[in-house]
């Protein structure tokens, strides 16, 4: 299935900003995080189609996930 993976801030370093990639059915968000070698402790926000998601959530064809480290604005 096609999943769009978008990375932000430091997660882009040495990786990519946005990519649509092929994954087998039933892939979990945590498997993609592991594949990208992002330590769990660095992730502050996982969004699935614009809403907060659990890393153990299974993905469906056409889903879009976004991964963020801790950032702040003022």
């Amino acid at each position: 299935m096609n999943i769009t993976v978008r990375l932000f801030a430091t997660f882009r370093f040495g990786r990519f900003a946005s990519a649509t990639r092929q994954y087998p059915p039933q892939t979990r968000i945590s498997e993609i995080i592991r594949e990208l070698q992002i330590p769990d402790t660095e992730i502050s926000m996982i969004m699935l189609n614009g809403r907060h998601a659990d890393p153990e959530q299974c993905l469906c064809e056409g889903d879009s996930i976004a991964l963020f480290p801790v950032v702040a604005g003022g």
Binding site: R6, F8, A9, T10, R12, A17, E42, S44, M45, M47, G50, R51, H52, A66, F68, P69, V70, V71, A72, G73, G74
Partner: protein, 576 residues
């Protein structure tokens, strides 16, 4: 010895007073709000003779503690009619701290049309008539005073907007690079202008400095505090690397990025104005993507933005300004936004209030959304020169809405809502509604918990559950940050790193010989919030003023989120 400096602009006299015992453990916001509540008539006209303008450094400002150099300015706000505290970085707080000045209180109004300046030194404060710099922008004031008094002079100044008593006028503070940091919110520049004070110069030569009562304990706890800041991924990595503009992509993803005057929650051009793009642009052009607003800052979330030829445009280029002009006004162009930021610094207007007012003016058809050149012209030619249109926009978003008959006007207590839509990030909506200062994200920054789980896990931004409690907790803790002179982002390690808050309390005790416990923080927050609230009630505000505008009941794409709190649910905030 600590002292209070008092200036009476009616009689043009000055004096030095001892610090009352009950003010000894107060600083920054806790002190300015205590003084305003005690000495200012709540129903007074904010630009009249009964209002007072108070500057107070944080409790630790002037010590070697990192990130402790914020200066609080307080008064009754001409924009909101409420009590107001607005704090800024720059050099002045640390100079006041080293001079052992607990507060500078400016009261009364001069008769006649003369303008004045104040000079603060180890000998106290003096008043002088000022002619040369009237009408000048803030950058020119700093440059002229460095020539007149010396390179090291501290400066607190108002631009033409403050002289014209515009309700969006800010007060600017010289920083370490001779550029500016601002007491942005609430129109305090108009209060300074009403007192006909163009600038305050500061000379801290011969200052006694602050010698901790227990230097060893102070140094040890200051180290623990600094370590906590560096250990937190937000203050140790995210902010230094990308600055606050990093929030653009994150808030966009969450569907709460105010776009085209709060009509949408996502902006199609978000990458063009993101922290990632800002950083790449600054590295490519030779700007500085990591820069502190005060000496002793170890977070360095600020940056120096340069043009394609490497020439300085602006610094202190923040998420709020970038988002509101970039997405909410649709400019989508960092170079144009940077020029606008610099003009706003120079003429002396709050970049949040002014940028939101421009968004409302765009909805009214005064100029099209996306019209960057139009925005620059409006700032330079209209607001800067005080044309009738400039005065309307310089009066803030609420007034623009009234003058042009717009119903989508994002204000609470007449102060512009900053760059987070409260429908999609509900915790910050409770802060906007209930803050004693009008809409202000810095009064209880629930965004960090709503979106990123700072402080013990995510509180779902799209649901009402837990938001009132979250905002209340954050508003209480924020009083502590604002009173010690700490930057808002110390809230991150304070929430997540267990050693941070005890180290802060240890520093205060070791420095001043206090016997404070961590419970003191909650007490300070509760007392200060209640003092501020009592002032507002006496000024005529009620719980019905703790409401968001009606248009937030309209669904916000992409989540079609609405503001769905009942009056009773919001009023529960004050049940403590």
């Amino acid at each position: 010895m600590n002292k209070i400096l008092r200036v009476n602009m009616t009689t043009l006299t000055t004096g030095t007073e001892a610090v009352p015992k009950e003010w000894a453990a107060l600083g920054g916001r806790a002190l300015t709000s205590t003084i305003v509540a005690k000495e200012v008539i709540p129903t007074c006209h904010p630009l009249g003779e009964n209002n007072k303008l108070i500057f107070a450094p944080g409790l630790l400002s002037g010590t070697t503690a990192v990130n402790s150099g914020r200066l609080s300015a307080g008064a009754k706000s001409p924009l909101t009619g409420t009590i107001k505290e607005s704090n800024a970085g720059g050099l002045a707080a640390q100079m006041f701290g080293r001079l052992r000045i607990k507060a500078l209180i400016i009261e009364g109004l001069p008769k006649g049309n003369a303008w004045y300046s104040l000079h603060v030194s180890n000998n106290g404060v003096t008043i002088a008539e000022e002619k040369e710099l009237i009408g000048k922008g803030n950058f020119a004031v700093v440059e002229a005073l460095e020539n007149r008094i010396g390179k090291k002079v501290g400066v607190i100044t108002i631009g033409p907007a403050g002289e014209m008593k515009m309700l969006s006028a800010n007060i600017s503070v010289k920083d370490v690079d001779s550029k500016l940091r601002s007491h942005g919110r609430g129109g305090l520049g108009a209060v300074m202008g009403s007192k006909r004070i163009k600038f305050i110069s500061i000379d801290d030569s011969g200052a006694p400095g602050i010698k901790p009562v227990d230097p060893e304990k102070f140094t040890a706890s200051a180290r623990i505090f600094a370590k906590a800041i560096m250990e937190h991924p937000g203050t140790g990595q995210g902010l230094p690397t990308f600055g606050t503009a990093e929030m653009v992509n994150l808030v966009n993803e969450a569907g709460g990025l105010p776009t085209r005057n709060f009509s949408l929650g996502r902006y199609e051009g978000h990458e063009k104005i993101s922290g990632e793009t800002l950083r790449e642009t600054m590295i490519e052009r030779g700007g500085n993507p990591s820069h502190g607003c005060q000496p002793g800052c170890i977070i360095k979330c600020s940056q120096v933005y340069v043009d394609k030829k490497g020439k300085y445009i602006t610094s202190g280029f923040e998420y709020e300004t970038i988002e509101i002009l970039g997405a909410n006004a649709g400019l989508g162009n960092l170079d144009q936004i940077a020029v606008a930021d610099s003009i706003m610094d120079d003429i002396g207007v709050d970049s949040i209030e002014t940028s939101i007012a421009i968004g409302v003016a765009m909805e009214a058809g005064v100029l099209p959304f996306d019209d960057g050149e139009g925005v620059l012209r409006l700032l330079r030619e209209d607001i800067g020169k005080g044309t009738p249109l400039g005065r309307i926009i310089g009066s803030g978003a609420g007034h623009v809405g009234k003058v042009f008959g717009v119903t989508r006007v994002p204000v609470v207590k007449n102060q512009a809502i900053p760059a987070y839509d409260p429908r999609a990030i509900k915790g910050i909506g409770i802060t906007y509604a209930t803050s004693t200062m009008g809409a202000d994200h810095t009064m209880g920054y629930a965004v960090a918990t709503n979106l990123m789980g700072v402080g013990g896990g995510i509180v779902d931004p799209l649901k009402k559950d837990g938001q009132v409690e979250l905002s209340r907790h954050l508003q209480i803790v924020t009083v502590m940050l604002d009173s010690i002179g700490l930057c808002l982002f110390i809230g991150f390690p304070a929430a997540d790193i267990p050693t941070c808050v005890p180290a802060l309390v240890d520093m205060l005790n070791a420095c001043f010989g206090f016997e404070l416990t961590p419970e003191w923080i909650g007490g300070l927050g509760v007392n200060t919030l209640k003092t501020e609230r009592a002032f507002n009630l006496a000024a005529g505000f009620t719980n019905k003023d703790d409401r968001l505008p009606e248009f937030f009941r309209e669904p916000l794409p992409p989540h079609n989120a609405v503001w769905d709190f009942t009056d009773e649910e919001i009023d529960e905030f004050w049940n403590f």
